[in-house]
Amino acid sequence: MQEDLTERKQKALDFLNSHLNAKLITALNSCVHCGLCGTSCQYYIALKEEKYMPAAKVDLVAGIYRRYHTFAGKVFPKLTGTHELDDETIDKMVDTLFGACTMCGRCVAHCSVGVDIPFVVRTGRMMLQQMGLVPKSIQSTVDAALNTGNNMAISKQDFIDTITWLNDDLQYEVNDDNATIPLNQSGVKMLYTVNPREPKFFPLSISAIAKVFYLAKESWTLSTDYYDITNYAYFVGDEEGARVITERLVNEAIKYGADTIILGECGHGSRAMRWEGPNWMKEKYPVKTITAVELLAQYIRDGRIKPDKTKITDLVTIHDPCNLVRNGGVIEEQRYIVNACCSNFVEMNPNREDNFCCGGGGGQLAMSEYNERRMKIGKIKADQIRATGAKIVVTPCHNCVDQLNSINLEYKLGVTIKTIAEIVADAL
């Protein structure tokens, strides 16, 4: 057993060694320990412990790097505060890299130097993954996605039943017996992807997008085999698993002749698919990708749908999902949509790429081990929402929806959380 662990540690060190490119070398060497990043991180702000400072998270991995890859670290390990990859370091890594970082990236632009902190955190998670030390709850989510095609292990029949029921609902809603939610349809222009939370817990968000597509006369389909936009393998640092999940969606689009994959309302899924996926596959995609938010904004701009903003008069605010906004560049589109669909809109402060994470990112929602911490850091978002006085919070991410629903209850905010598709459908 001891030998097994030693071998696994070596595997993690070999992994670090093989991934030392210009980007990682930079990130591991540039923190100057100025300590000014604490006030940008929700964990430190909410929990006020040094171990939650972004720099402390970076230092866990950078300390290992210094120990095994620098002259001073090898000869005078104490001088530069290096870390042996021992049990104590590993325990700290699991606790803070998995349990105390949403990989939101808020600290990055505010860091004195510009250290890519979540990139280092992800590297640490990858090393833990090499050692088989991913928290069980999130690992089971990844396993479900790899083994069944979706992270909630929804059976194909259950998915078809849900969509059939939603189909009836759509026909009633748009008063057209020919309206349909296409399944496995070939020769379409677009393949739509969803977060499995939608068929499982929030089917009305599928109804909402179906209504929008119907009115926009879009050519689209859902696949019953691979429709899951989420990619938790990305968060656990399993690059091969992440590649498999990505490749499935690309192949599915090709199978149905679609030239575009619509990335459903899931922040990290969109990021993984749009920005990381091509690098896991080591090639440019043969298909295009567009987020649902960008597509809906385009529909409104082109006049393909005409929302009536007088239908929604309650004060509305937007929560910006970190992976879609700060890490994905979809910033103004949701504002354009909400302004077109609602008569009263107020910004949260701070907002856009400076926004605080909801607290559920980085796989936190899938790690029940850290629920208590997650709810504590959620207070920052709760305070932000309360300060706006809004009645409706719109966010283009189902993970954020889940976390916002939790903090809505916990902090008694009394707001309604909606996705972008839902708010658009309400205004049509």
Binding site: I25, H33, G114, E283, V325, N327
Partner: protein
Amino acid sequence: MTIFHWLLIAALVFCFVSCLRWFLKLIKQPKDYADPKGSVADGVTFSCTKAMLPTHKESAYLHLPTYIAGIIYHIGTFTSIILLLLQLIFTNFMLPYTGNCEMGDGTSCFIFSSNWTFVVYLRLFFAVALAVSSLCGVAILIKRFTNKELKALSNIDDYLSNIFVTLFQMFSAIVMVAPYSTWTQPALFIMGTILFIYMPLGKLRHVIYFLSARYQLGAFYGKRGVWSMKNKKH
């Protein structure tokens, strides 16, 4: 040339070669296959300009005294390094030109004025400026010793680096005050030698990695269309 000149030159060569070695490792960027939404060049420009202003970074506007002290300290360091290099090249640097300084007799002058008053004032200016920047270094050091979070984050190298750089600036200031003393310049050269030998070992390496970090940061946000010089909201 004294033994102190040669020691300093050896340290500089060692430091330069080490920095060059790291720098070369940073040139080849990993290939990014994702289609861009924005411009890498625009993002990098933003990263190296506006994004560094105190209006844009919480590490600056939420910690203004530390930020200002840090900026002054870094300006002091670079100024001291430039002054040191000039003293290494020009034997009579910072002495007014009196006409005795002839090329080929083993001495050389960094001739900018034969006006005694001007040179004295200039030296005084550098001395005061470097004294202020050294004090900033001392303040940062005290903060590192006394602030709970910072202390937890710090290792021996953090303290040593701060001490070496601060002493280096102090010696630089002293040379400006007393250029004729027999010990001031040798002391500065010894301090410079220690600093340049130490630099490749610890966090002072960030002189190279800082630039690379700003590039990576700008490239990331630029490509994804998050940062742009044209964005009025920035």
